[in-house]
């Protein structure tokens, strides 16, 4: 399989896109760490799902906004599994994609930006940093950051969210430049509206239909679509790909 003997850590994998990615990686032979914040049952259900289909997974709670918590989780995983080869930065600060009730520009405070930055950029940075010594030693590492296609075309202007995700994209590129020398690849996946997840359930039919109407493939993105892209970027098939952002949105974004 594509990911035999690899250990993958997927943040925010108890639900939605993260859960699909965890399953996808496990299906290709990776041992998966299902990280989550508080939803024990859901996380355990994902683990059970994976084990039932012959895969290997464990659930580990950790608030990825906390540097100290990240350190503790990484130490624990490294002690138990010896290595982490693949890191998928999927968790993000709580946010609902609700076009009707989105926060207007004038109402968006610095605290809103800070919350989004902490949940994405900061978490990705500290997680990657915590893994860096191990990545360098094993001369191998795959970092996959989940951003959004809204950075390219903010169809719905979620200011704080889009700014934070754009920051992750810049970070992806600059990290890729430096870390390539250690055999580390850093890429991003930019999903389009991925439906259904808890975060996207509030994107109502009118907006969904409007997006579908403009999408070349004529449908919304499913969590499994993102999982496919993640498997590809995590695997040896993508060995010479780094600093890239793969748009998985049915062709809505072209660049």
């Amino acid at each position: 399989m594509l990911l035999d003997h690899k250990v993958a850590l997927v943040t925010g994998a108890s639900r939605g896109i993260g859960a699909a990615i965890a399953k996808g990686l496990a299906q290709q032979g990776a041992i998966v760490i299902v990280n989550y914040l508080k939803n024990h049952e859901k996380a355990n259900a994902i683990v059970a799902d994976i084990t039932a289909s012959g895969g290997q997974a464990v659930a580990i709670p950790c608030d990825v906004r906390s540097d100290a918590a990240i350190q503790a989780m990484i130490t624990e995983v490294l002690n138990n599994f010896g290595a982490i080869d693949i890191l998928v930065n999927n968790a993000f600060a709580p946010f609902v994609f609700d076009p009707k009730h989105r926060r207007l520009f004038g109402d968006t405070t610095w605290a809103d930006f800070q919350a989004q930055i902490d949940g994405s950029l900061k978490a990705s940075h500290y997680l990657t940093q915590a893994l860096l010594p191990a990545f360098k030693r094993q001369q191998y590492g795959r970092v996959i950051n989940i951003t959004t296609n809204l950075t390219q075309n903010p169809v719905i202007p979620y200011h704080d969210y889009i700014a934070a995700k754009s920051a992750v994209l810049g970070w992806t590129r600059s990290a890729a430049v430096e870390l390539g020398a250690y055999g580390i690849r850093v890429n991003a996946i930019a999903p389009g509206l991925t439906y259904p997840t808890d975060a996207s359930r509030t994107t109502h039919r009118d907006v969904r239909e409007a997006i579908i109407a403009q999408t070349p493939t004529g449908r919304l993105t499913k969590p499994a679509d993102i999982a496919g892209a993640a498997v590809f970027l995590a695997s040896a098939l993508a060995d010479n790909i780094t600093g890239q952002c793969l748009f998985v949105d049915g062709g809505l974004t072209m660049n």
Binding site: K136, R137, Q139, G180, A181, Y182, G183
Partner: protein, 489 residues
């Protein structure tokens, strides 16, 4: 190049007028099919006859030429090799990779750079680095400082035993011999019997009479009688090769005869913290990797142990990881030569030793191409020295200060040769002095370890001077003969 049936190659060259009784062939299996190497099945009597023929041709021609004229001829020959369409260059580019197993692109690149060392201007510089006035003292007696005159004489016949580790390496000593006006019998190794032959053929294109003082042919080292015969008739013997080869030949050379040995040598690389800054570390790693990659460390010039100074922006361990990635990338560009079973065994053994060292010492790390043996980096936290089984295999040691490195390599003094450096300008002279003290004879820029300059002193000796003897006319003789000038009153 006389090539019959497309795959028969003559790997010998002798004066036009000289014919051997019998020829034989050796079949070489290559990825592109079999190649037949044709060469004389020489007898000791033929070697004697060859030696005499070469000596007499030397006396009547080469010895009459000035060094300046010889330089011009060699320069013209080298110039031919700068043309990508030159027939012999194309033959070399095609067959050398097949014969040696080295990467074809790399061989072409290296050969290009190497042959340019022998351009006329480079040779002039080279001769002047050892002998003033373009070696005029080899042409005529020159006034010397003590009031008399001196002239240099080269050997009438040089017997050269060539190594086959690196394509074209033989041409260096071949040219040295010509510059001191010696006829040469060159015994090649079957590992690389082609390049010197091609070069002599080029010389023949430029000046057939000059080429006529040269004979190149391979024979097996088992054929001791041939070797002994050649030694007996030569004035000076130059042997390049492994420790074994050099020792074996030494035993055949009588004490009264001059023997110059180029044996097993070890290189090291020293990387200072100054070269591990954010803007330089990557470039530093790439340079080091090219020193390891070019001809798979088979040239004695390449590093076997590498010392990385602590305190840089990257730790020595991090640098080892960057180096490892660069080695992996290098393999994508220039693949390693096919390994012989013994070479595979040596690398596997080194990897096993590293693994067991890792069990006892958490700080030791091994980076390696996992699926094959194309490259291996063993990182050690405490400094030492270890020779490498070569073929892109290297020990990396962390050191607190580069100034300590001489201590670690000092025990290997007889074998030390090149040090590739990436250090601060202020540190260069002191470090050079210390490294010279412990036996290093060549200091060069990191990334250039495999590329000697035209004026290098091979293993710390003189290339030309070591081949020469000096004849003095003392001042008293000069004055004394003046007495017999009948016109003086």
């Amino acid at each position: 190049m006389s090539q019959k049936n497309g795959s028969v190659i003559d790997v010998f060259v002798a004066p036009k007028t000289f014919a051997f009784e019998k020829y034989t062939e050796k079949v070489l299996q290559t990825p592109d099919g079999a190649i037949q190497l044709r060469y004389p099945d020489a007898t000791p009597q033929e070697i004697v006859a060859l030696a005499e023929a070469l000596k007499s041709k030397r006396a009547t021609y080469l010895n009459q030429l000035s060094v300046r004229e010889i330089v011009r001829t060699i320069g013209l020959a080298a110039e031919k090799w700068t043309d990508p369409h030159y027939h012999y260059r194309q033959v070399a580019e095609k067959y050398l990779p097949l014969m040696t197993g080295y990467d074809a692109t790399q061989t072409t690149l290296e050969l290009k750079q190497y042959m340019r060392l022998f351009r006329e201007k480079e040779l002039l510089r080279f001769v002047n680095s050892e002998l003033a006035n373009t070696g005029m003292a080899m042409d005529e007696f020159q006034p010397n400082l003590s009031g008399g005159f001196s002239k240099f004489y080269g050997p009438d016949l040089l017997f050269q035993i060539f190594s086959g580790n690196v394509p074209g390496v033989q041409i260096w000593t071949l040219i040295m011999g010509l510059l001191v006006k010696s006829a040469i019998i060159g015994k090649t190794s079957f590992a690389e019997p082609l390049m010197p032959v091609l070069f002599v053929k080029t010389l023949a294109d430029v000046d057939p009479r000059l080429a006529d003082v040269l004979a190149i042919l391979p024979w097996s080292s088992q054929e001791v009688t041939l070797t002994k015969t050649a030694i007996q008739h030569a004035e000076t013997v130059i042997v390049s090769g492994s420790e074994q080869t050099v020792t074996a030949v030494r035993d055949f050379v009588p004490a009264t005869k001059q023997l110059i040995r180029y044996g097993y040598k070890i290189g090291v690389a020293l990387v200072g913290r100054i070269a591990l800054t954010a803007d330089y570390y990557r470039q530093t790693a790439e340079k080091l990797v090219s020193d390891l990659g070019v001809y798979d460390q088979q040239a004695c010039l390449a590093p076997q142990s590498v010392y990385i100074e602590r305190g840089g922006q990257l730790s020595p361990g991090e640098f080892a990881s960057v180096m490892a990635t660069a080695l992996d990338n290098y393999q994508h560009q220039y693949r390693q030569a096919t390994l012989q079973p013994a070479e595979k065994l040596a690398i596997n053994k080194l990897r096993q030793n590293a693994l067991s060292e890792m069990i006892n010492n958490q700080t030791t790390q091994m980076f390696s191409s996992r699926e094959d043996l194309t490259w291996t980096v063993v990182y050690h936290d405490t400094p030492d020295f270890q020779a490498s089984p070569l073929n892109r295999t290297v020990h990396v040691y962390a050191v607190d200060r580069l100034a300590d490195v001489p201590n670690y390599i000092a025990p290997f003094k007889p074998y030390l040769q090149t040090a590739g450096l990436a250090v601060a300008p202020q540190a260069l002279m002191t470090l050079a002095r210390q490294l010279g003290e412990v036996g290093i004879t060549r200091l060069c820029a990191l990334g250039e370890m495999n590329h000697v300059s035209a004026a290098w002193h091979h293993d710390g000796g003189f290339n030309l001077l070591d081949l020469l003897r000096v004849v003095d006319i003392e001042a008293n003789l000069d004055q004394y003969v003046e007495r017999f000038d009948e016109d003086v009153e």
